[in-house]
């Protein structure tokens, strides 16, 4: 039943993509932080998950070297992954505190992303260098394969549910309003009494936690993680979902993630096969992503579902809209 397996993979990827996109949307769409190094927090979560579930290297034949090497019981490794994302996210946030023009900020973040992946690839002692980590244990390995797969889907769904509830706490209400004010004009926000530095770091910690959880779930599902999974260009994929869907809108970017996922998966199947170049569908995927991003910035920068602000009515000021 290949389609069943295919469906499981799709759902897990969709769920983990949603978590990451929600996190980046909080940072970039809502709070206006140009964190183009976001993929690093996803990687942080994945590696953290790996090194707290793999156990000591010698147990597996000693063919990969890495730091850590614990075996924490489920679901602790997921929490560790989220925490790693939060910590790394905050560290990245510290580099962005100087008030640089946004495009400079963006380039600096891309370079940070590239630097980290270069160092991790080169230093084999950290996370086994370019080869990455393999044999990451699946938490449901004791179940039969099909049940294990669907249990994982359920796990991802639960994480998304909890994640979404937490997300809404930050993107709506007074906090959501203040973050958007900071996005629109951080000087005016500061002049209105908002501590911009503190807000930015908090947002990058929370956004980082979402990314870290996403990475941890992926690592547990795939069973491996290597530098090829987090090239600095990967952040662009998440940005695509945000720009296409609707920057700053949780519904919008969720829809955007769905659209991009469908577009990538379906689109590449309908494209003609050129020669027999392996990996071609992945290349076309990037071509599609890039084109969709530019098309939306050109034709509809607010995205499919644009951000909506609450409307208040004088008579019913005691009733707050959603």
């Amino acid at each position: 039943m290949a389609w069943e397996y295919y469906l499981v993979v799709m759902l897990v990827y969709l769920g983990t993509d949603l978590l990451a996109v929600w996190g980046l949307n909080l940072e970039f769409g809502v709070a206006g932080i140009a964190n183009l190094a976001y993929i690093v927090v996803v990687a942080a979560g994945a590696y953290a998950y790996a090194v707290v579930t793999l156990g000591p290297s010698s147990n597996l034949g000693g063919f990969q070297t890495y730091i850590g090497g614990f075996t924490l019981p489920f679901p602790l490794p997921l929490l560790v992954g989220a925490a790693a994302g939060a910590v790394v996210g905050t560290l990245i946030g510290l580099t962005g505190l100087k008030r640089l023009r946004q495009d400079y900020q963006g380039v600096a973040m891309l370079v940070v992303s590239l630097t980290v992946v270069t160092i991790v690839s080169a230093d084999t002692g950290l996370f086994n260098g370019t080869a990455g980590l393999a044999l990451i244990p699946n938490p449901f390995a004791n179940l039969d394969p099909e049940t294990a797969r669907w249990t994982y889907v359920a796990l991802v769904a639960v994480c998304c549910l909890i994640g979404f509830v937490v997300l809404r706490r930050f993107t709506t209400g007074p906090m959501g309003r203040t973050l958007r004010a900071m996005r629109d004009d951080d000087v005016a926000a500061s002049a209105s009494g908002k501590d911009i530095v503190r807000l930015r770091l908090v947002v990058q910690a929370v956004g980082g936690a979402f990314g870290g959880l996403s990475g941890a779930l992926l690592a547990g599902f795939i069973g491996g993680w290597s530098p090829s999974a987090w090239a600095y260009i990967e952040t662009l994929a998440f940005l695509s979902c945000i720009i296409v869907g609707g920057r700053g809108s949780d519904r919008g970017v969720s829809l955007g993630t769905l659209i991009i996922a469908v577009l990538l998966l379906q689109g590449v199947q309908f494209l003609p096969q050129i020669a027999s170049v392996p990996g071609l569908s992945e290349d076309f995927g990037w071509i599609i992503l890039g084109t969709a991003t530019i098309a939306f910035i050109w034709f509809r920068p607010q995205g499919v579902l644009k951000e909506r602000r609450p409307r208040y009515h004088a008579e019913s000021s005691s009733k707050l809209p959603g």
């Binding site: 140009a34 183009l36 580099t95 100087k98 008030r99 640089l100 023009r101 946004q102 495009d103 400079y104 900020q105 963006g106 380039v107 600096a108 891309l110 370079v111 940070v112 590239l114 630097t115 270069t118 160092i119 690839s121 080169a122 951080d186 000087v187 260009i233 662009l236 940005l239 695509s240 720009i243 050129i274 020669a275 170049v277 990996g279 071609l280 290349d283 076309f284 990037w286 071509i287 992503l289 890039g290 084109t291 991003t293 530019i294 910035i297 050109w298 920068p301």
Partner: protein, 296 residues
């Protein structure tokens, strides 16, 4: 010590190519206030166009010139039909970065789709080598150093001795003022993008010549050191970019020689990050130019 001298020599050769690319990048920023990340993929395009020409028997230097001009033309068109209209509409700086990164990605993977992912090579240009004291450089390396020096000098003459060059400098410095002085800033921009596009193309072929082999990631790999050089020298300042290129080239090679060669690229990355965070205007950027870099 021998190692260091060799590293410095290699560094000058690499630095020359980085300088070549950095100057083009810097000119584009100076004229249009855009950090054109597509620059990397355009260099890759140039390298592949050069490859096609060389494989058809075209002389290497003619191939370089033709590829450079081709990329120059592509650059002007790219700026005219995509970048300039977006800027005119008030597209914000971060969105422009996303656009140029996306365009670069599209171009890079179109190249992969057409030319395949495997490594390419221009092959040996000439077995001749040059010896300077303890240092041996290949023909290609020396040729590129000479070429870069010639092009930089030509650019210098253009900028300082011609009306066009002065118009470019004026437009770079203060576009509105330049326009009110009667300068056709739109046309000057086109010309500047063509010239810098040619430099981009030349850098792409130069990279292909000086590396043993290359693939579709060529431009992407060298773009960041070039941006580092441009920013280090003072973004928008062509002369700063030239010096920056040399500094980045030499320091990268020396660092690789004395410590872990895997970290060679990291030197350029770290320099860029530090410059942006500590002194965004670089070595030679005027204090006022930092207003282009700071928000608010």
């Amino acid at each position: 010590m021998q190692l260091i001298i060799e590293a410095i020599g290699f560094g000058i050769a690499t630095g020359a190519v980085i300088a070549l690319g950095a100057v083009g990048f810097s000119v584009q920023f100076g004229i249009s206030n855009i950090l054109n990340i597509t620059y990397g993929a355009l260099m890759t395009l140039s390298a592949y166009i050069g490859l096609i020409l060389i494989n058809r028997g075209v002389n290497a230097w003619a191939a370089l010139a033709l590829s450079a001009v081709a990329v120059g033309v592509v650059s002007v068109i790219y700026h005219r039909i995509l970048l300039a209209p977006l800027v005119r509409r008030g597209t914000r700086a971060i969105a422009m970065i996303i656009v140029t990164v996306s365009a670069g990605t599209i171009l890079q993977y179109v190249i992969v789709a057409i030319a395949g992912p495997s490594s390419q090579s221009y092959g040996e240009q000439s077995g001749q080598t040059f010896h300077f004291a303890d240092l041996t450089l290949s023909f290609g390396q020396v040729a590129i150093i000479v070429l870069t020096a010639v092009l930089m000098f030509a650019l210098h003459l253009l900028l300082t001795r011609t009306t066009l060059g002065k118009a470019m400098r004026a437009t770079s410095s203060n576009r509105t003022l330049a326009r009110s002085c009667g300068i056709a800033t739109s046309r000057i921009s086109d010309i500047a993008w063509f010239i810098s596009g040619c430099l981009c193309g030349a850098a792409g072929v130069a990279l292909a010549i000086t590396t043993v082999s290359f693939d579709f990631s060529l431009g992407a790999l060298f773009l960041i050191p070039m941006i580092a050089a441009a920013v280090l020298g003072g973004i928008g300042q062509p002369y700063g970019a030239m010096l920056g290129g040399l500094i980045i080239g030499v320091s990268s090679e020396v660092a690789a020689a004395v410590s872990n060669p895997n970290y060679k690229d990291v030197v350029a990355f770290v320099i860029l990050i530090i410059v942006l965070l500590v002194r965004p205007r670089g070595l030679f950027g005027a204090a006022w130019s930092s207003r282009r870099l700071m928000e608010g």
